[in-house]
């Protein structure tokens, strides 16, 4: 097993914390019901499972100090930005409709993320958005969020 010490340690703690949360919530549900397990039984044991596995993970990282690979956290900046852009797009869906929001997302990705020229960005955004519109909205009639201008 290749483990990346520090990250696995933190991951283990997170999983353990999650397990405790699940256990807590599950204890509020009936454990047994007429003839058999109630809704609380499985989540309770899942919680226990999470905590136990997390413990194994954490213990393993403490034992194998020579962690082999380091996770390149420096590289997270770009995906993080992209993800924030994605989330903003989702937020805009109900206000601007799919077509416009998607066009903006494409613009953002090409211009900001990939640092292409503004012309390329507009090109890509327009052609992709058009393609999506033609395929999904026009031909297939897939219901998509509409903006204030009806598309």
């Amino acid at each position: 097993m290749r483990l990346q010490s520090k990250n696995d340690f933190v991951a283990g703690l997170c999983v353990g914390g999650f397990g405790i949360f699940v256990f807590y919530e599950a204890s509020g549900l009936p454990y047994l019901s007429e003839y058999g397990p109630g809704p609380g039984l499985l989540p309770l044991w899942l919680g226990i499972g999470f905590v136990s596995l997390a413990a194994v993970l954490v213990v393993n990282t403490l034992l194998n100090r020579e962690g082999s690979e380091q996770v390149a956290w420096r590289k997270v900046r770009r995906p993080a930005a992209a993800w924030i852009g994605f989330v903003i797009t989702i937020g805009l869906l109900s206000r601007l409709g799919f077509t416009l929001s998607f066009a903006l997302l494409s613009l953002f990705l090409v211009l900001v993320m990939e640092r292409r020229s503004i012309l390329t960005a507009i090109n890509v955004a327009v052609s992709l958005t058009l393609a999506f519109y033609l395929i999904f909205v026009f031909s297939l009639g897939v219901p998509l969020p509409l903006g204030p201008w009806g598309f």
């Binding site: 997390a54 869906l93 292409r116 998509l144």
Partner: protein, 503 residues
């Protein structure tokens, strides 16, 4: 043989120009439905239902069924090219298919998917034709204890999907099972982990999770470095765009495995093609001489699940046509259609409507051939998509993900969930947690818990019911064997090492 004369009757019906035309329309639409993530066959059939009233019922049935099994062909396309599962059953195809695409083998992957879909689809129809009634009778004896055992067997597949770290694989699986439990408990109508949010009352949709964890996460990972130009090598030349003879040879067992597993899982009402594809993938890996290659682009890893989800359609039609019990959401729509057209689906349907049944069966053979002819030439075409620079593909994939998720139930909440699971998937990739077990846990978790509780209700709380019934006992035994296999493997390698180091 009676079946032969019936089949000839069926062919005479299937090969009429009208039926051929509508069969083609059906499989063509089905392929599109499959290629596009989120747009599923139940919804499409529902949309087209009013149109079918103008057609002859047999023709309409041929077309709608065409959509059903056609969609299984198309589902692999986006899975392989973009790591976006086109259909829920295509999730497993992402595992090796996408890796093959990254290695420049998108063409062979797509080709193998089409070929194994064809073989399995045909086997499925054969099964429907020849052994439908006895298989159906066997299927109704499959009760909650057997389903529970089957789910355990499926979960044991984690052993084959975990990859490097078993601990992390188990954590992912447990998380998937937990996700499956979010929502309303069917037995007591209590809400679990819904945090008061009404949108969570029905649980979290599988497609949302799988597209988020596979497709969106993949885009985020790829954006780490400014790739810009092509990320995938797409070799030129037709020979490199279709599966080689070696590929076909390697997939021999997968074709059989997938077809058989898929068909029998399809017959069980409620099991589903996702389970079928996971199981056949696991079986394939279990019997493979080089299991380490799975997950890195093994062609059998594409052939097996693709075969399974295609023959599953043949299997799912068995309970529908022989008992009037639909096996999945799509077959439930087909049942509704049959009722609306004035048929009475039930055990006497085949006897009283031989034209419908045999016409349908014959048209399925024809349809599968049409699909093969339709899909294979499209393979080089689709593979060209990968030539697009990544800065075009990235927004396209994200866009498809949004459309796919939104088209399921028009819920913006689902799209937000997509964002959440995309982030989760990315973190899992960074921390080396495998995604496949999570999806597996999600698919199986619901039914696992449900079946166990139903089984215990059947036996008034005695667990012994699970081992007293032959089928469930057998499946549980198989599960234990599979779980012990890595242990056995380790023991064997210790022994070998000891033997080498000793005398």
């Amino acid at each position: 043989m009676e079946a032969l004369s019936d089949l000839l009757l069926g062919l005479s019906v299937a090969l009429t120009p009208a039926n051929l035309f509508w069969c083609f329309v059906g499989v063509f639409l089905g392929t599109i439905v499959g290629v596009l993530p989120g747009l599923g066959s139940p919804a499409t059939i529902a949309m087209l239902l009013p149109l079918t009233f103008r057609l002859d019922p047999t023709t309409a049935m041929i077309m709608l069924s065409g959509i059903y099994y056609g969609s299984k062909y198309g589902g692999s396309t986006t899975s392989i090219l973009l790591n976006v599962p086109g259909e829920s059953a295509s999730v497993v195809t992402c595992l090796d298919g996408y890796q093959m695409a990254r290695q420049g083998r998108a063409g062979p992957a797509l080709g193998i998917a089409a070929i194994s879909s064809f073989i399995a689809g045909t086997v499925g129809v054969l099964g429907l034709m020849l052994i439908a009634p006895p298989v159906a009778r066997f299927a109704v004896r499959f009760g909650p204890p057997e389903y529970f055992a089957l789910m355990c067997l499926g979960l044991a597949m984690v052993v084959f999907l975990a990859g490097k770290s078993m601990i992390k694989g188990l954590i992912a699986t447990l998380f998937g099972i937990w996700l499956a439990g979010v929502g309303t408990d069917i037995f007591t109508a209590e809400s679990r982990f819904t945090f008061g949010m009404m949108e969570l009352l029905d649980g979290i949709d599988f497609i949302v999770v799988s597209i988020g964890v596979f497709a969106v996460a993949e885009v985020l990972v790829n954006l780490e470095s400014q790739a810009g130009a092509e990320l995938f090598k797409v070799p030129k030349g037709l020979r490199n765009l279709l599966p080689s003879l070696q590929d076909l040879k390697d997939s021999r067992f997968a074709f059989v495995n997938g077809s058989v597993v898929g068909f029998f899982i399809g017959v069980l009402p409620g099991a589903g093609s996702t389970i079928a594809s996971f199981l056949s993938y696991g079986v394939e890996k279990a019997f493979s001489r080089h299991p380490e290659k799975f997950g890195t682009g093994a062609v059998e890893g594409v052939a097996a699940p693709e075969a399974a989800n295609n023959s599953e359609t043949g299997g799912a039609l068995v309970p529908l046509l022989t008992l009037g019990i639909p096996g999945s959401a799509t077959t439930a729509m087909l049942l509704a259609a049959l009722i609306l057209w004035g048929f009475r689906p039930g055990p006497l349907l085949i006897q009283e409507n031989p034209v419908l049944f045999w016409g349908l069966v014959a048209s399925m053979y024809v349809g599968n051939i049409m699909l093969l002819i339709l899909n294979l030439p499209l393979v080089p075409l689709f593979a060209q998509i990968l030539r697009l620079p990544y800065f075009v593909l990235a927004p396209a994939i994200l866009g498809i993900s949004i459309v796919g998720v939104y088209s399921v139930s028009q819920s913006l909440f689902d799209v937000w969930m997509l964002g959440v699971f995309g982030l989760l998937g990315y973190l899992m990739r960074k921390l080396d947690f495998p995604a496949a077990p999570l999806v597996l846990g999600l698919v199986l978790g619901d039914r696992l818990e449900q079946s166990l509780r139903q089984a215990l209700m059947m036996s008034q709380g005695h667990l012994s019911i699970l081992v007293m019934r032959p089928m469930s006992a057998g499946l549980l035994l198989l599960t234990v064997v599979i779980l012990l296999m890595p242990v056995a493997g380790k023991i064997r390698s210790w022994r070998l090492k000891a033997a080498e180091e000793g005398i």
